[in-house]
Symmetry: C2
């Protein structure tokens, strides 16, 4: 099987865009055309999430190589939510899309292994987001399980929320906390390089400022980036340029609400709006990979 990052880069080349479409379904954001067909029970909502997300996958498939379901929105619907997430991931794979499961997991030893198995065996995700606070030995079971399945990880390095600075920007003898994490992630990623020169351990790096993004790219030359904060969260495409290397590779840029909820709830053209938003984001981000 092909290395995670080579599959990722191949997918980006094929779709000619580093766009990643986030799937963050919320009942109150669903088009009436979908929500009216379902009861407001846990089971009904899960069925509506499944129907909506599967339609979104079909609509965005020409414009993106990667999708990122947000686990929390499915978990909150209990077992039916979990089943909906399974089916959405299966559908994504059937459409040739790669899946980054956004679950920000973290724990030690066999518990960490269970989380990783949940992502890579049970849900068959291609990559999982994880939180580094517990240190390398806690990250190790995630790495072992990811490598067993030729999957990837994205470690939270610097998040895009305003309060991220409280702990992530604390100054230490070795630089800011998130810079120390960044260097560690680069070391971990170098253990298993792909043909592209990037490893299989990625970093979540918010598009907080173009300078910071470029600085973190320098600290992590062999780490694939996952950049949230584009679109509805405020970042522009040009703000994300620093996430890419000189060859225009090494990052995926996520947009969730901007692509999946660009319509009014009663708009009968909601599908066309999603297609238009996906196409526009895809083209806009394509420019970042062209130099």
């Amino acid at each position: 099987m092909i290395h995670f990052t080579d599959r990722l880069i191949n997918g980006i080349r094929t779709k000619q865009s580093p766009l990643c479409v986030g799937l963050d379904p919320r009942w109150e954001n669903l088009p009436h055309a979908i929500s009216q067909l379902h009861a407001t029970t846990q089971k009904g909502r899960a069925a509506a999430y499944e129907a909506f997300c599967i339609r979104v996958l079909e609509l965005v498939q020409p414009y993106t190589a990667i999708v990122k379901p947000q686990s929390a929105f499915f978990e909150v619907l209990g077992a039916p939510g979990h089943q909906a997430m399974e089916k959405i991931i299966d559908k994504a794979h059937a459409l040739g899309l790669m899946v980054i499961l956004d679950a920000k997991r973290n724990d030690i030893a066999s518990t960490a292994t269970a989380y990783a198995e949940s992502a890579f065996v049970q849900l068959k995700a291609d990559a999982l987001t994880i939180n580094p606070y517990l240190g390398r030995d806690a990250v190790e079971p995630f790495i072992a399980e990811a490598r067993k399945h030729h999957a990837g990880l994205y470690v939270l390095v610097r998040t895009s929320n305003p309060g991220a600075r409280q702990f992530q920007d604390l100054k230490t003898d070795l630089g800011k906390v998130h810079e120390v994490v960044a260097r560690a992630v680069n070391d971990w990623s170098r253990e298993n390089l792909s043909v592209s020169g990037f490893g299989d351990i990625g970093a979540v790096v918010g598009a907080t400022s173009p300078q910071e993004l470029a600085h973190l790219r320098k600290l992590m030359p062999q780490v694939p980036f996952l950049v949230p904060g584009y679109g509805a969260q405020g970042g522009s495409a040009v703000d994300c340029q620093g996430a890419f290397n000189a060859q225009g590779i090494g990052a995926v840029i996520n947009s969730s609400r901007g692509i999946t909820f660009p319509f009014k709830l009663d708009d009968y053209q909601w599908e066309e709006k999603i297609v238009k938003a996906a196409r526009q984001a895809s083209v806009e981000l394509a420019s970042l990979t062209s130099n």
Copy 2:
């Protein structure tokens, strides 16, 4: 409804022990008496986890006020695992036990709210473990949701794994990273004090050394502690003394495998072994609350 920490302290007084029993079910650790009744399918294993954990709850109920299911071991079984966890939590409440859901969640804004709703509304847990790396604004939705339901949170401050020092012990201008987190957690907890003088935001603090535990108790005088690492993980009761204040209150001490898996798989007296282990741990830890 009574403040989380007052309910916790009342429970500890009633059972005369700060013991917390961790529920970390693993197929290969189940007594044959249970595993032989179930298929090795996802559904069969989930049914076995449910049967085993519900029996454990009945057996340990006289000796503990609190149980801590580990979400990862249920998640790895998909939707049936999730349903098993729901039923186990319901059973714990029916037996008058409080439930700390160990899931180490973290995210921002509405995603954090969804995780918190999943814990406090969908699963009805009394408390949830969370990871602080993203900072206060990311913790805020968890706090808001916990307070709405008179529930608690336990923030990872200093974990017990050897690699925890890699990031948690980095030296900053304001002390080690985990000490900065500790002071923040104390501030957050003080916002909502119980009759006991403790707030509703707790800290996960590994029983790594008695000195460190006592030091962290000083940094967080108003924070309820959850201390892992007792029993099978190597810590002794006396090592945990520092987690308590001068009145002998303010902490729960978790033991998982030492209580739930003290038998050989084919031992037909596995239930008696669990009762014996729970009683012994309960009595041993009782001494910590008596001064």
